[in-house]
């Protein structure tokens, strides 16, 4: 049996939408339980940190440029650089370091 690509896409969209919207629409009140409250407080930091490292090392052509972007990104974010400037600075570091690592022929 062959399946229809549009039905596949509809399933992907429908399932993903349900996952995303159900908690946000059903949990309308503040959770009082201290464990759950603390758990959900830590979730954003933990999940973003887990996704950042070591993935950032594999996102670039060389792990060295990824590591440089990570280190310098952490430093300038620590000293209060905005989201926009940290992000663009990381891009610039990768571009420059890879120009040095892999000079254009």
């Amino acid at each position: 049996m062959t399946y229809n690509t549009y039905i596949y896409i509809a399933i992907m969209a429908g399932v993903t939408y349900a996952i995303r919207v159900l908690p946000l629409t059903l949990i309308r009140k503040e959770i009082k339980n201290q464990f759950l409250q603390s758990f959900l407080y830590y979730v954003p930091y933990v999940t973003l940190a887990v996704m950042t490292f070591p993935a950032i090392l594999g996102a670039t052509q060389s792990p060295i440029s990824g590591a440089l972007a990570l280190i310098i990104g952490v430093i300038i974010a620590w000293f209060g650089a905005s989201l926009f400037s940290v992000s663009l600075c990381c891009c610039a570091i990768v571009l420059i370091s890879e120009l040095l690592l892999f000079p254009p022929v």
Partner: protein, 252 residues
């Protein structure tokens, strides 16, 4: 009547301001999305999707790993039930994010806002929404979504059409835009709060370990993210329970 009107226009301009800020902060997301969706488009093409189908999938689903998994299933002509299960697993972390987000919403937030914002709980838009102190303003997210979401869909279509045209150098640099953004979200609170700082180091170490340890490293990156998020957040919640809601708002 007058004070009421003034108050109303105050809220309006506040929302407009948030919308504008969101558009500005959406630019790094847009850059990263272009790079990632471009490579996703290449996968879509090899799975037999047309540029329009790639565009449609990205516009409706807004999920990198989830779409990648979906495209490989389309290529394999998998049964619909398998598609449902794989998408549930690949995108389960959005469920956690949605739960966390529900606690940062003003309880008065309208259902329509929740239905619309929920559709755009991606790693990036979620990170951005929680990076602002206090209750989440949906208009901030809408600004970022307006700038970045079209890039995601368009990038996928361009990837299908023009596979390998973008130079590797540019893809490499654009790829870190999203990680730079994550750093800008998690590092400043770590500066103020030692528990979060320690937690981030533990996350880095265990995420690194999980990427090469036997058995765990065979799981998909999405599944590893869920397991580590639940385990580490639960541990932190037991060891360092957060006492007051105010304490949270200050950090976040």
């Amino acid at each position: 009547m007058k004070p009421k009107l003034l108050k109303k226009s105050g809220i309006l301009s506040e929302n407009f301001r948030a919308f504008y800020d969101g558009m500005r902060d959406g630019i790094p997301i847009a850059l990263g999305y272009l790079a990632v969706s471009f490579s996703l488009g290449i996968v879509a093409k090899s799975s037999g999707l047309t540029a329009f189908q790639g565009f449609l999938a990205s516009a409706l689903v807004n999920a990198s790993a989830g779409e990648y998994a979906g495209f490989t299933l389309i290529a394999a002509n998998a049964p619909y039930l398998e598609m449902i299960i794989v998408i549930l697993i690949a995108n389960a972390r959005y469920f956690l994010m949605s739960c966390a987000m529900s606690q940062r919403m003003n309880p008065e937030t309208r259902l329509s806002h929740r239905l619309l914002m929920g559709n755009y709980i991606t790693d990036e838009f979620f990170g951005l929404a929680i990076s602002r102190p206090g209750a989440i303003n949906p208009y901030y997210s809408y600004g970022a979504i307006l700038v970045a979401a079209p890039c995601w869909a368009a990038g996928t279509a361009i990837g299908v059409i023009a596979g390998n045209l973008l130079p590797l150098r540019a893809v490499s640099a654009l790829n870190v835009a999203l990680y730079g953004m994550f750093l800008a979200i998690i590092v400043p609170p770590a500066h103020k709060n030692k528990v979060i700082a320690g937690l981030i180091l533990i996350c880095f170490a265990s995420s690194y370990a999980a990427s090469w340890l036997p058995i765990v490293s065979n799981l998909s990156a999405g599944t590893r993210t869920i397991i580590l998020t639940v385990a580490i957040s639960a541990m932190a919640a037991i060891l360092f329970p957060v006492k007051q809601r105010k304490e949270m708002d200050n950090d976040l």
